[in-house]
Symmetry: C2
Subunit: 343 residues, 2 copies
Amino acid sequence: MREKKNVTFREIADYTHFSKTTISRYFNNPDSLTLENQQTIADALQKLGYKENKVAQILANGKTEFIGIIIPDLYHHYYSEMLSQILSTYETFHYKFLVFIGNKTEEIERKYIQELLAYKIEGLIILSHTISSRELASLSIPIVTIEREDKYVSSVNTDNYMGGYQAAALLARHHCDVLFHINAPGSEDTPAYGRLLGFTDFCREQQQEYQIFLREFGHTYETTLAQMQSLLEELETHYQNQKKGIFVSNDTHANVLLNLIIRKYGTLPDDYFLIGFDNSPISREAILPISTVGQQIDKIAYEAVQLLVEQMNEQKKRKPVPLETPVHKVIPPILFRRETTEK
Amino acid sequence: MREKKNVTFREIADYTHFSKTTISRYFNNPDSLTLENQQTIADALQKLGYKENKVAQILANGKTEFIGIIIPDLYHHYYSEMLSQILSTYETFHYKFLVFIGNKTEEIERKYIQELLAYKIEGLIILSHTISSRELASLSIPIVTIEREDKYVSSVNTDNYMGGYQAAALLARHHCDVLFHINAPGSEDTPAYGRLLGFTDFCREQQQEYQIFLREFGHTYETTLAQMQSLLEELETHYQNQKKGIFVSNDTHANVLLNLIIRKYGTLPDDYFLIGFDNSPISREAILPISTVGQQIDKIAYEAVQLLVEQMNEQKKRKPVPLETPVHKVIPPILFRRETTEK
DNA sequence: TTGTACGCGTTATCAC
DNA sequence: GTGATAACGCGTACAA
């Protein structure tokens, strides 16, 4: 016969002949009890099989230790790794995470946020791009975004500009005749746009010939393949016999391009240099390990949670002083040189 | 001046001159109010900016709508996709998920479970392998496991036996001289062991020559590469000039092997046939699209949550009748024929 | 159809 | 060092 409903302070109190208050104190301020009484209570907890009830604690003191997360998907390694790293901060900060997969419509995402607020989350981490930072800021709850438009809210991002700059520099070091950057058309206020800026700035400074390809690759392998195929043909007709240094905005696309080239030539020809972005597993597992600009996902995740924790702690003070202006942290990328540039 | 603490039923009640009860009823049994009064209250909610408070609801009626998840990692596509699909069932069942990354030590995982129980989760989905199903069953809370040892708890698994059988059959259809199965040594009570069983059963039934390689590949690319390299050498020395059909237990490892072969020969030689397991992105994005046995992750996730929901609903009845014996659902795999077998 | 009174399991504020 | 008592915000018999 289980069905023994949960043991409460009331029962512990009755059993030990203390008051509920004293039991509570045992947990929250044990030093205020005599060692002897601490032991008495400890024994009773053991005997009765007490399990703490966070829900009651929350109602009583308002601290849920919940952080909400809205993330576009877990399909891309970047996002699943980021979520993994965020969840791992539990060991440090002891916040629990309520996760929604977003990036659908604004309406749905607003519903998610309402649901999260109903659970009295103390803070929110946003990775999806659906809702503007202006609207997010109006929620008046601590918010940190990662790698998205962040004008009105705090954020942590990779130094995309430096990443683009370094990628271009690495390609230029190999005396490429022309540098190329392949990306998807994106709004200029997203951090990822910095990759393009860094790339072009380097080329201009060094008076290096370059060209930008903006293509809509879609979200399936097939559409990506088709686009990349046509792009490769364009490259081959217009720039044959020239040393080509190609910076692709992510490793998945870089791998598609690499495979197309290798399936055509059986190897990566000497006049091709290739670098991707993200340091995702595919860059290492490709037929030829792909050079890439790696994001420090662990650091980004940690900084994001830490930044959020600071703001949440501020909220708990009697006179919270919200941030005057959003804080934007920037994490440098790390260059991985592999076989597509170092042959 | 925000700092307007949360609007409660009390304030709505005062504002509308109803009682708190009536406000509560507006949400839980609106038909019991006149349309006119419904409107009055709706207007008040709007005007005062009421936001529901799930925590209070939980304390009052005991239903948290929380499901706990313990998952080994999000690094493997299989797990991140599974988590993604599980989270997506929110749209159907409206349960929220508290996620922990587990598979460390039993001690840590028990701590996670205690924390989850403290939040009064209604059910638990376990994908990590750390804690025995016997111990899990003793928690007396609805539990469903996915693709792990499941003797004493309900579970949803891929039909690994059929997967192994189909893989062998596909290779045999190409008149391979010898079939190989490459796997990591694993306990026989995990579902994944079925891949090996199905494979060997097929070979025995068809009197097909075969060999099993059990190797510890480790968890990094480097160790996997080294192991696979030595394995390939063994294959080449002992079975040269024979048609080799290789069934690798996952796509990541299959891809490593494929790359080794292609880097050696420039192509996949006619005497090699290769099939992986999981239908993970790498199988499609490889230099040669890899045939694979795909798990129906979406179905598995849905069935798991549904199975859990049924058990949780049973718990809510006045006289819960817990399952006499665990339910084990099995989802068939899907064979993907790609270029490593269909040249 | 609506209201009263109490319970959910803790924490916080006073007293003693 | 310990104990009453009142929150916290909502649900629900039971009453009207």
